[in-house]
Symmetry: C2
Subunit: 680 residues, 2 copies
């Protein structure tokens, strides 16, 4: 299926030259690839973007910019809601904690990682050895190149590649439209199409106080894509589960996803209730609320997919197909359960049985689902830095390895505002959720609650902490163990109170689940490469990938859904919905309607293979010009985590012409347009 369909989030160092040539007669050149790599940008808060001018201008989605917009806003000035436009470079707003990464090189380090793990090592030893060698490789690379260096696990343990990034931490906001047009249709239309969203924002990367001369950038296409065009998406898809075994997917369906949906609905309800209390509280909770609602819809779609026997049957066939190919040549019956070659599949299944016993505890205490507020995250980092830094880098919890410390401290000391009442609400919701999941008698619950109901406990922790102040965090982080132990800050004490149990759960997870899975998937990958070669790219890992596809409408029942929408359609939809939330166009659009060419294409779809994390990805044409900014999938694409189809599933992008038309006619953004296309 792969060779025929447009499936694939391809590695930049193993690009899909062959299918592109065969299906689209396109020659993927090294120069094309070099630009794709060096002009694509990773937003470390979970999205993608791309350089679009020689002066460090970067385009992404409004909803990826949301975190920065929120942090730059104040009770009197709501940039997330109202948008922003810098008239001059001097007016560009520096983001408090936005880190961007640009990929510079990829190196295969699989052999070195494999060599570090002794063949007869016990799981705990193997996990420690693997973690150590990964840290070492990263530390060496950082020392040698000065670049951020991450060893990435591909094929769930089949390959290890070292990714080196140029890092930008002085990132400034240039332009964002109003939330109402960026997210027109709101949650109701999220993951739907036709859509009418100007989901774009512009930033500029700076270095030493000057705009970055990036060297590579994508030329903005004034025309945009036409129907049936071949297009490419270069971005950072977050996670997919296509190569996971059937046993793992069943575990996700029956254990992980129900828990996840339960958690998301709990947080969504808490945030909605908070937002209802006043317009200012609505403003404070806006991005949290959007993030949670978006995740709820994405995971909800995944869950419906896994409950679809047709999809599970397909996965079963894929697995049987692979294991059959491992059988004797010419023989088409599946291997018997006793066949030693099936052992890795059984090992993954066994790991799920182990995981099921403590997955909730692990997610609640160590992943932090019970403590879902920034103040706790800060407190835990302070506590753990004190414990971890004295150890050699290779022996630390992975996020405290030397090569990651700069990014961690950048985030930890962020001056972004933290709202006490919102922290209280989120923490109370998390503590309540903890009790709901484990029961009021569970030792993890009584330990965290300390003899108070969740609401009262959250209140006392937030009321007493001084971690709102970055200087206080710095004092603790720099003061080491002595400072942390001497601290009477209730949130710090709380993070200490739950730390031993959290660490124990992590250890258990890493040794009893993650390590056996990695070893099993390493073996499965070996067998897969033998049978199928590299024709199937690895699952997504929030690293740069190249996808391609065709700009193409689709059918739903009798209805033909067009490949693009228009500005006119947005006004029609708003009118049909009485301009009521979430279909209320911003005043600027209502008043400026007469100025717009209503036939301008607004959003478009293509068959290219994307997933969450691709938000903000540049969509490019054959010439490598930017013709769109990816921002969503339609609902048929929600099962892409498990299976790719191109019958109805599409990703959705803002048309490059829409951006120009809106900027020219409605916004005070002349210089921005000029920077993009050379004229206002």
């Amino acid at each position: 299926m792969t060779a025929r369909s447009d499936e694939g989030m391809w590695l930049l160092n193993d690009p899909p030259r062959k299918p592109l040539k065969e299906k689209y007669d396109f020659d993927l050149t090294d120069a094309w690839l070099a630009r794709a790599m060096n002009a694509s940008v990773r937003f470390n808060n979970g999205g993608s973007g791309g350089f679009v001018s020689p002066d460090g201008l970067i385009v992404t989605n409004h909803h990826i910019a949301a975190d920065a917009l929120q942090k730059l806003s104040t009770p009197g000035r709501d940039l997330y809601h109202d948008g922003f436009s810098a008239a001059t470079r001097a007016e560009e707003l520096k983001c408090p904690d936005l880190e961007l990464n640009v990929l510079r090189s990829i190196e295969d380090v699989t052999d070195r990682v494999a060599a570090a793990v002794k063949p007869d090592a016990k799981p705990a030893e193997a996990a420690a050895a693997r973690r150590a060698v990964m840290s070492e490789i990263e530390k060496e690379s950082l020392a040698k190149t000065g670049l951020r260096s991450d060893v990435v696990t591909l094929y769930h343990g089949g390959l290890y590649h070292l990714y080196r990034y140029k890092k930008y931490t002085d990132v400034r906001l240039v332009f964002a439209p109003e939330h109402a047009i960026a997210f027109f249709g709101g949650d109701a239309d999220n993951f739907e199409y036709p859509r009418f969203n100007l989901d774009v924002a512009f930033f500029r990367a700076y270095e030493d106080g000057r705009p970055v001369r990036a060297g590579h950038y994508f030329k903005w296409s004034e025309a945009g894509p036409a129907e049936n065009d071949l297009v490419f998406v270069t971005g950072h898809p977050g996670t997919t589960q296509r190569l996971e075994t059937l046993a793992k997917l069943i575990h996700r369906r029956d254990v992980t996803l129900p828990y996840t949906l339960y958690r998301l609905r709990t947080m969504e309800a808490a945030l909605a209730q908070y937002a209802e209390q006043s317009p200012e509280k609505r403003r404070q909770a806006a991005t949290d609320a959007h993030r949670v609602a978006n995740a709820r819809k994405a995971f909800g779609g995944q869950y419906q997919g896994l409950l679809d026997p047709k999809i599970m049957e397909k996965k079963k066939e894929q697995e049987a197909g692979l294991t059959m190919q491992l059988g004797l040549a010419g023989e088409v019956k599946p291997l018997t359960p006793e066949d030693a070659r099936l052992k890795p599949w059984q090992a993954v299944a066994e790991a799920q049985t182990v995981l099921e016993k403590f997955e909730r505890e692990y997610a609640l205490y160590e992943r932090g689902d019970a403590f879902p507020c920034e103040l706790f995250t800060i407190a835990r980092h302070c506590v753990r830095l004190a414990d971890e830094l004295p150890k050699p880098s290779a022996a630390r919890l992975r996020e405290y390895r030397d090569s990651n410390l700069e990014s961690l401290r950048f985030e930890l000391f962020s001056p972004a505002p933290i709202y006490p009442a919102l922290q209280r609400t989120k923490l109370a919701a998390g503590l309540t959720f903890l009790a709901e999941n484990l029961g009021g008698r569970h030792p993890l619950v009584t330990r965290a609650l300390d003899g108070k109901p969740p609401l009262a406990r959250a209140e006392e922790l937030v009321a007493g902490t001084r971690l709102f102040d970055p200087a206080e965090r710095k004092k603790l982080a720099d003061g080491g163990k002595a400072a942390v132990e001497a601290s009477d800050d209730p949130m710090v004490k709380f993070a200490r109170l739950v730390d031993a149990e959290a660490r124990a759960l992590r250890k258990r997870y890493e040794e009893e689940v993650e390590e056996p899975e990695r070893q099993a998937y390493a073996e499965i990958s070996r067998l897969r490469f033998k049978a199928l070669g590299r024709s199937v790219p690895p699952d997504a890992t929030f690293t740069l990938r190249l996808a391609f596809g065709q700009v193409k409408g689709y059918r739903v029942g009798d209805e033909a859904v067009p490949f693009h929408t228009t500005f006119g359609g947005a006004f029609e939809k708003a009118e049909a919905q009485h301009n009521a939330e979430p279909y209320a166009l911003p005043p600027r659009w209502v008043e400026g309607k007469g100025k717009l060419d209503l036939s301008t294409p607004f959003d478009f779809v293509s068959t290219a293979d994307t997933i969450g994390g691709n938000s903000g990805s540049p969509v490019l044409n054959r010439a490598g010009e930017l013709v769109g900014i990816n921002f969503d999938r339609n609902r048929f694409g929600l099962v892409r985590n498990f299976v790719y189809t191109d019958e109805q599933a599409r990703h959705i992008a803002v048309h490059s012409r829409a951006v120009l038309e809106a900027l020219r006619k409605l916004y005070p953004a002349g210089p921005l347009v000029k920077e993009l296309v050379g004229k206002e």
Copy 2:
């Protein structure tokens, strides 16, 4: 504690004469009681009300009228949102399926019920015998009196009383204000105080096409209550758990409530997402959404209470106190676990262990949490009527006993509108919730889903059913088993598909949990009566009770919260919140502000003991005049299910003067005012 505090939802046939005399020097006369009984009204959709004129006029809450308001609304005419006022009796709107009950008599039938159960009966036999004798008593009573007759289980099985009601099914809407003033502050202020809500509505009961001459009614007080006044609440508190054993409360905390909150948040999220799709869909989902949000907040408060070790400690002391009193005189140490007198407590604990094994399955399949839409309820009734009616009344599932059939059919054949898209959304949410709880492999899940994902399954069931049409329901209900078996209606077939399993779960629940609990509580009650007499009234059972208390403010920290709010306060609050949802006053109020006496008391609080179901309850003064309409508790009262306190916990009522002032100055309601107080 009972004698000193105002705790108690007292039985009308065992009224609190003594504490009233002792604490308030008030003589509760038979005449006072007779009026309280005959002028109080039960709203069968879950609330209370009272006659307030000799011509059958009834006051209740807007949020109790909500169900009828919604059913009387159409896409063009939103009575729930905009309110309603009948200028003449001819304009009063007949509700499609509202049944009101007025209590006429109470008779103790405990001995007869007890005598029907043989001492050596097995639980299944005992349950059947008890169900049979209850049906018999009801049937005899109905035949003899023509009154609706219900045997009510008190003290969880300690006493059985026969309640006889006059029933009204021709109930017409007279007046309702706008939702925005009835529920000013929305979910944010629900269960909070100070409040500013005109949460009232008026109906009129008719018989034979003429207004009912009720005989008893409450005179409307023009003055309303003053601080420290003794007041009474006569209404129908739904359920409390104060006399449940500690083991039962722990089970609620660790099993039932977490599940309940999970379910409510699931439904709340689904309804919120539905409402966001368009203003019309928001209208359709409005009352469902309110009901679910209200329950979520109430159960959320209960849950916080049960997670409070101080409250559990108190329950423990109460239980130890009771069991100690059963010990030898003079001895104050608790009974040893081996003492036979503790057996009923152990039996309740054992019943929880049994229940835990199948509580979710029972709630999902038999209570219907997996199928939370009206169309399924209708289909199930049609299917079950066909199975049950051929049996003798005493042998049927309890809701199909002869004495209940009229009410059941009244509801079943209601012409109230049912919206397909909303049904689909609710059913899809329920089926998804089913899978989340039991896992995709569970036989109850695969049976219900029939090889489709939940969304697709809900879609096919709702798309194909003809049960929207009351005539279709009637055909099935009257056609008996042959009609049901011949039906190809997908919803009917679905109800049949899940019926055997649902019935089995119900049987298991009734025999293995309910019956052992009843027997145990019967014994506990016997011991309690011996030790404490009847000083502790039974837990609430949605039957008429009398509560009393004092009109009184309270303190929160340093802040004194006044016993009443004013109209002026409402305008201040709206202004402080920029008149934004949910603090947007209706245009009538904004424009009419100048006409109002802003010092008019709006809402007030008292210490009287109430719980959900008391909504709409008349609040009376010593003279038996109506001084308020109860509509809520403050958040300190959320734990009243388990413990009563009067330090900060209060119920909240609309002041009788507020109603008059608003009706006189803002609404075209002259005749209504005249009917209430004799002059416009």
